[in-house]
Symmetry: C2
């Protein structure tokens, strides 16, 4: 049987709150077994870009990554956020190593083709070097990925952190029994959006159709869950969604998704 590997993703809301980040990093450090952390960047990049006089360009609510914005993202996600997370993990005795997709050529992507919108320096993942990432894991290092990949020709590319999480998990499934933990603001997928405790504890391919039919999964949750099922079909064992306490044994009130 394959060994277990946990891939944990945190978003900007945790990254930007010093206390929440420290509390999360303790939970992550205490998580047993082999593991990988993926972090988003949050609004800090927008804030620093604006201080540098770089306007954030949005088209249909989506950010355009021009050359200047990519520089800021590389500074903030790849430098400031990633290296501070690594230093804090080291203080918690987790032997972390901070990575972009360029490091050990871990995640290659294609610059998104221009159709209606030119998203600029945005990458769609095409290859995860699972053997190279595994060399780090086998050396007892804990990879910490930021949301940056590269095209193999020297160009860094801004890449969605949820996508990096699922693609790395799919890649590592060749070697491990992989579980994704998407940490977010909610306790999980909710039956009733107004009741934060109405968590749907288990979703599989069949019950997913029922939830869709009842209109329980809609809006922003829909693409998230579609991506989850793609990852599961790609070999990921289970996907968990909830608040950070799902990393502990004490909380079982979160959503687990399987095929």
């Amino acid at each position: 049987m394959k060994e277990k590997l946990s891939i944990v993703k945190i978003g900007g809301n945790i990254i930007e709150d010093e206390n929440a980040l420290q509390a999360f990093l303790k939970l992550f450090s205490n998580l047993e077994g082999k593991k990988i952390l993926v972090h988003g960047g949050g609004k800090r990049a927008t804030h620093i870009a604006s201080k540098l006089g770089i306007e954030s360009k949005m088209v249909n609510g989506r950010r355009i990554t021009d050359a200047e914005t990519l520089e800021v993202i590389t500074m903030v996600y790849g430098g400031l956020v990633n290296k501070n997370v690594v230093a804090k993990l080291q203080a918690l005795n987790t032997n972390a190593i901070g990575l972009t997709g360029a490091d050990v050529n871990s995640i290659q992507s294609d610059k998104r083709p221009v159709k209606d919108i030119d998203f600029g320096f945005v990458g769609d993942v095409k290859a995860v070097a699972h053997k190279s990432i595994d060399k780090l894991i086998q050396a007892d290092f804990t990879p910490v990925f930021c949301a940056i990949t590269h095209d193999g020709n020297g160009q860094l590319l801004n890449t969605n952190a949820d996508t990096i999480t699922s693609q790395v998990a799919v890649g590592m499934s060749a070697l491990y029994n992989t579980s994704i933990y998407y940490c977010f603001e909610l306790n999980g997928v909710l039956e009733d959006i107004n009741d934060k405790n109405s968590v749907v504890k288990h979703i599989n391919t069949k019950t997913y159709q029922d939830l869709l039919a009842k209109g329980i999964i809609a809006d922003g949750m829909l693409p998230k869950l579609e991506n989850c099922f793609d990852a599961l079909r790609g070999g990921v064992n289970s996907i968990n969604m909830g608040n950070t306490s799902m990393l502990t044994q004490e909380n079982d009130n979160f959503t687990t998704i399987t095929l």
Copy 2:
């Protein structure tokens, strides 16, 4: 006999010149055998700090690293410069991995004690985890260090790139036959500062005394060479100083220092 390991250091003048950087990275990629790159940051951090409205504070010609300045250094050295160098090396088929001293706990330092001057978040190297760095090298990765270390308690620290180079080389000497290559503007140590071709090709402990007596080594060169002899006494096999073409077989007009 121990295997050879080259530790190459480049400064801000190369980092800041796109063409010079690309030419150097080609030479570095072609350098045979196991190797490590260390880069400084140059004036880009000062430039971005000033854009962000952060004043560069100097005391007796030395930069003070306050909390805001450390953030900029972490963004620029650890993010922008380091990750672009890694992506460019990947394009040259060198499987690079970008590191601060926090990554794999590779370089721990002590925050410099306050005496006459409070230098702020500046670190003096106290431990190099040569076994962890070697795990990366043994996995056929090429470490690329920026000039940042950590204190083991979650604090990143700004650290001189020349010092990182010599300390990493001393640490790795436990496992390898190490050679340092300090790439800089001059062709080497010069007999006559006005004649750029008057390179002193070999310096050892004995000839060093002669050069000192003749006043050939003075000013900025003096601390550099003192540091070199410290590193050699620490176990480094040889130290080379010159322009980047010393990495090729074609140029033998540079300075080699041995005990």
